[in-house]
Assembly symmetry: C2
Homo-oligomer: 140 residues x 2
DNA sequence: TTATTTGCAAACGGTTTGCCGATTA
DNA sequence: TAATCGGCAAACCGTTTGCAAATAA
């Protein structure tokens, strides 16, 4: 589970090219100072990637990001902001500050359980879910 | 609360043009046979609208839909499908069949409460939320 | 009348793709 | 070597916008 991206690629039969290694490196370093993913978009990834290898094209970033998503390595988010944003796969939800855009990650076991229950109730088994909370900071 | 779209427009100071009336009409008739919204995208709206008034342009549909959204009449959804889809404002969540694309609407008071609790926990007051469950139908 | 709206077509911005030389396994 | 990949630039597609004519209030 805590394999590196490169290991995951190998186990999924994804060819490891230089460009993909660089992109993988940037992705695994995409953490905020609190250790959470900072959810970069493709442009942002592209600028970080070209610092390590200036010859990589943005088309490659798009292709790689899609590849990694299909391999179950990355998760794509749309939020309410036009551009798609990516982060390493992990099972958590997002609380988004509608004033600042700050993103807080959280998990809540109880909510997870209830989600499963709702799906069951309609005769479905839950495959995936997306929960986004939008809020404003309260005065202390 | 159960005002018609036209009434809402008037109370929000939105000018009622012929085109907007037609689009409002189509939107309020956008129900599945079970009375749920069928979540049309702009293209779909456009084809329905032009059946009533063939001269309306797609630009007007885009502008109107955005206007109605800003007026709190419509809700825009992105789901995982490229095009934005719209429905009359209502407070419910979506369970999406990943095989068929069928959309089931649901509300769950318990989940709502927990969401509010999570936001509070991080010092936020909840302004909006989005919950999507993706599932597959179980064998009976 | 006057500010707003519409239709048209062109522009936009994020994303995808065809071609072909380069690279991986 | 065979299959896949990457760079480039052009295409794509949903959405937005500038402009002049039309229209709601």
């Amino acid at each position: 589970m805590s394999d590196t991206i490169e290991q995951k690629c190998i186990s999924k039969g994804v060819k490891l090219t230089d460009q993909r290694k660089v992109i993988a490196k940037v992705l695994s370093e995409s953490k905020s100072e609190y250790g959470e993913s900072d959810h970069p978009d493709v442009d942002e990834l592209y600028t970080r990637v070209t610092k390590l290898d200036p010859k990589i094209s943005i088309a490659t970033v798009y292709r790689t990001v899609k590849l990694f998503e299909e391999a179950g390595i990355l998760t794509k988010h749309d939020f309410k902001t036009g551009k798609a944003r990516y982060e390493l796969n992990d099972d958590h939800n997002h609380l988004i500050d509608i004033k600042t855009g700050e993103i807080i990650e959280f998990v809540d076991e109880e909510i997870e359980k209830l989600q499963k229950k709702v799906a069951e109730k309609y005769g479905y088994s839950l495959v995936d879910h997306k929960l986004e909370l939008y809020g404003v900071k309260k005065k202390p």
